[in-house]
């Protein structure tokens, strides 16, 4: 986890995510108004009373945004949990076991990949009598695991041939332990990364579903805000405060998740993490143009630090060191390390 936190991108992402998480928890309490409460202030632009203005029926947009955060996060994360668990079970099992089990499981996954996602979700959602957040999360989760399973299967396939897995088998570990203890932890970065990806997808899906009015509108989320804004043609009424903030929140949440994913990508693939500049901007500016280019880390043209960039240790002797004396040439006897291997 440490290297993950060392990246600025990840820290920013996690920070924003944390902010949203806090809002998700306390949003309903800190909301200045009830999100559904109607008031005579119809379609007011942002003001001190209504930070983000009001809707057609006088509801407070800011409160809706605060209260709606929970729905988005719950659906996003719950469906990602469902999808991730499914993709782990399917992907890792089929990757590890191989043979007929693999063929069957990956064929199933492929069917889910081939069926168009959103329409499928719409159909399944309309199949069910109710379409509250939990149901929607379940539907998104159940239809969204296939991609992750495919990635995990490929990873597992390559891990399965790793020597340490063979070694674990060779000392007599039972299969389930090999999978859970030896393979799973090595997939954690991939799993987290696919989890984050699924969250982004799930958030976009639930918002889309809310927007086209397929899900329960009595539970507030950013998508329902957009639904009401759109069905009341907020943009045509120039009520940008009704339409724009929810969209920006979604984009912000998505960006935060993407930034976290960057960090994870860098964790999995350290090549992505390598710094680029070798000297500070100030130092570079002082260099002549041809030398400046040489200070960038690039493949194929190793950076060459200008002499000024390497600070000499302060205690480096300026004059010739004193010659060693005879006393310095007395053997010390066998060092400890020598005894170690004989």
């Amino acid at each position: 986890m440490k290297p993950l936190l060392s990246s600025v991108k990840t820290r920013t992402g996690l920070g924003v995510l944390l902010l949203f998480a806090v809002i998700a928890v306390i949003g309903p309490w800190i909301a200045p108004h009830s999100p559904s409460a109607m008031s005579p202030d119809i379609l007011q632009p942002p003001s001190a009373r209504h930070l983000l203005g009001t809707t057609q029926s006088g509801q407070d947009v800011f409160s809706q945004l605060l209260v709606g955060t929970r729905g988005v996060l719950v659906v996003g994360f719950l469906s990602a949990v469902i999808a991730t668990v499914l993709s782990c079970v399917v992907g890792i099992t089929s990757g590890y076991l191989g043979g007929l089990a693999d063929e069957t499981l990956s064929a199933t996954g492929n069917i889910f990949l081939v069926l168009p996602g959103l329409p499928l979700i719409i159909i399944i959602a309309s199949l069910l009598p109710e379409s509250g957040n939990l149901v929607v999360a379940a539907v998104i989760g159940l239809t969204g695991w296939a991609w992750g399973a495919r990635v995990l299967r490929a990873q597992t396939l390559s891990l399965r041939r790793r020597d340490y897995v063979t070694a674990a088998r060779a000392i007599g570990e039972p299969t389930w332990r090999v999978i859970v203890v030896e393979i799973l932890p090595n997939l954690s970065a991939v799993i987290i990364s696919s989890f984050v990806g699924t969250v982004i997808n799930a958030v976009l899906s639930v918002i889309t579903l809310s927007f086209i009015g397929v899900v329960d509108l009595s539970e507030w989320n950013w998508g329902t805000i957009l639904f009401w804004a759109q069905s009341n043609q907020a943009l045509a009424q120039n009520a940008w405060w009704w339409f724009v903030p929810a969209g920006l929140c979604i984009a912000l949440l998505g960006t935060a998740l993407a930034l976290v994913n960057f960090g994870i990508d860098e964790l999995v693939n350290p090549r992505l993490r390598i710094p680029h500049a070798t000297v500070s901007r100030g130092q570079r500016r002082r260099l002549p143009a041809p030398a400046r280019r040489r200070t960038y880390m690039r493949v194929g043209f190793t950076a060459v630090l200008p002499d000024t960039a390497v600070p000499r240790p302060p205690d480096a002797p300026a004059s010739a060191p004193p010659q060693p004396s005879a006393a310095d040439f007395v053997p010390l006897g066998s060092p400890a390390a020598v005894k170690e291997l004989t």
Binding site: Q56, S126, L217, Q237
Partner: protein
């Protein structure tokens, strides 16, 4: 150039300019069969510009006598079991052949033979041609179906008799009596051109351009910038979004017929089993707010406690309700409840048995206007201490629950028609009465049980005189007012947005000769009234 598009867009029809009409109906597929409600002609309304009815019924003035159209006159027998219709002379089909009584008879025979085309389920029995007249025979009095019969589209026998399967025929080259003929069709829209030899005075509008938009927003945008001249879409805050963009020309008029919307309540189960509660709630529903916020100020609120829309239904009102008007009266509602043994503890209403009164209001997810209405109703109920919740369902689940009587309260519509009979039958029909859990698709989903209502409905349909009808209707109104089987809220508006910039002569408050909606049969009448703006 040889391109069919050369010079398009600026083209003027033989009679002059172009009228653009649009509906938010999504992409269309080519189907000009006038009998099919699934056709592009129905979705956009252009079927009315080609196929004409026998008479033009004005649903916003149902008490007025229909305007004779392809039938010069019609006459009922005294028992309302025989109707004789006289064909208008001098009318020709767009292929030049004359229109005769044979065609009328054929059209009636067609729907009689094909129940699937008989959309209003009129029980035709016999069809006979007598000279230039057609005589229709029925087994029961059909006064209540008069408008349905007179509105039937007239199709040319010489073409349709060849068609084996009229249900699945898309009628690619429509031949009809109307002033316009099909010019071209694309999934995105249809163009009609004026034809020669229309039996009435030729309209000034030379070309009709129908566009199908995918949703309200798109249509509204087009209305606002003037691309679209005539449409019917729900526009929120219509002043700001539409009218104010060109106050001189952008007009919207939303008159009502007799169909309404309201809160259907389950009188068989739950708190609404109790009449007192129904009456009390009826008194706290803020219909003005529903009109303003839920319906964007478009569909008018129901004012008469009978549920009959005014002014369309004015002539039908029973004398004792002539001046009765609905208004929010919380103290009265509280009084009713108190008298019935309800008690208010800590702001929470408890029924005489001591139970907390809780009500769940449902409607499909995504039906924004209904949901907004429910929120307003809920707010009203809360004033009485009722614990109300609004839940959404999928359309399917909702429809099923509605038909099976598995709901407490839900916004739904009623049938319209040319008398309030259709609405009352829809709400009170005792023949449709079903136990909870059994589907009652045809009506009375609220499971309202009343022998008196059943008798009055039958009596109205069978009545042969105005007095008998008035009496039956009076009984129904009384039941509606006193028993509150359903809480009416607002009209099923027949309105539209139109621009007077290029065309004038639209129907309006001052001259309500027709509902302005472009998908109504009267749209033809409207087009015939249009004059180029000077």
């Amino acid at each position: 150039t040889s391109s069919p598009n050369a010079g398009r867009g600026t083209a003027k029809g033989p009679g002059g300019g172009v009228l653009t009409i649009g509906m938010p109906s999504g992409p269309q597929s080519e189907n000009h069969n006038p009998f099919l409600n699934t056709s592009a002609g129905a979705a956009l309304g252009y079927r009315h510009m080609m196929y004409e009815p026998l008479a033009m019924v004005n649903p916003i003035r149902p008490a007025e006598k229909p305007k004779p159209w392809l039938a010069q006159k019609w006459e009922w027998s005294a028992d309302y079991k025989t109707l004789s219709l006289t064909a208008r002379p001098g009318v020709t089909w767009s292929d030049g052949k004359p229109f005769t009584a044979e065609d009328i008879a054929f059209s009636f025979d067609l729907v009689k033979r094909h129940p699937s085309l008989n959309g209003s389920a009129v029980p035709y029995d016999s069809v006979k041609v007598q000279g230039d007249s057609v005589v229709l025979g029925f087994e029961t009095p059909q006064f209540v179906n008069e408008a349905n019969i007179l509105s039937l589209f007239q199709v040319p026998k010489h073409i349709w008799q060849e068609i084996e399967d009229p249900e699945t025929w898309t009628n690619p080259k429509p031949v009809a009596t109307g002033p316009y003929t099909l010019d071209r069709f694309t999934p995105q829209g249809v163009t009609l051109k004026q034809r020669e030899g229309y039996w009435k005075e030729a309209p000034e509008v030379g070309e009709l351009r129908y566009t199908s938009y995918n949703d309200n927003t798109a249509a509204t945008t087009a209305l606002a910038n003037g691309t679209l001249q005539w449409s019917f879409v729900s526009v929120p805050n219509i002043d700001k979004v539409y009218t104010s963009k060109d106050p001189a020309h952008h007009k919207a008029w939303f008159p009502s017929g007799l169909g309404i919307h309201g809160l259907w309540i389950n009188t068989e189960r739950g708190p609404f089993k109790d009449r007192a509660l129904r009456r009390a709630v009826n008194l706290v529903v803020d219909r003005q707010l529903i009109h303003q916020q839920g319906q964007y100020g478009l569909a008018p609120a129901v004012e008469s406690p009978t549920g009959i829309m005014l002014p369309a239904g004015e002539p039908f009102l029973a004398p004792q309700y002539k001046n009765a008007r609905l208004k929010v009266d919380v103290p009265a509602a509280r009084r009713i409840l108190k008298e019935a043994g309800y008690s208010l503890r800590d702001g929470a209403l408890h029924d005489p048995g001591g139970e907390r009164v809780e009500i769940t209001l449902t409607d499909p997810a995504g039906w924004a206007d209904y949901l907004a209405d429910l929120d307003i109703i809920k707010a009203g109920m809360e004033k009485l201490g009722i614990k109300a919740a609004v839940r959404t369902q999928t359309v399917e689940a909702w429809t099923e629950a509605f038909n099976n009587g598995e709901f407490d309260g839900t916004m739904h519509w009623t049938n319209g028609g040319s008398t309030p009979y259709d609405m009352y039958k829809n709400i009170l029909d005792q023949e449709q009465l079903q136990a909870i859990g059994k589907p009652a698709a045809g009506g009375n989903q609220g499971r309202f049980t009343s022998a008196a209502a059943g008798r009055a409905i039958t009596a109205y349909a069978a009545a042969t005189g105005d007095d008998a009808r008035a009496e039956a209707l009076g009984t129904l109104q009384k039941i509606m007012v006193e028993e509150v089987p359903m809480i009416p809220t607002h009209a099923n508006a027949l309105g539209a947005e139109y621009s007077t910039k290029q065309w004038t002569g639209w129907p309006d408050e001052a001259d309500p000769y027709a509902p302005p909606q472009p998908t109504q049969a009267n749209s033809l009448d409207v087009v015939l009234h249009l004059r180029a703006a000077s």
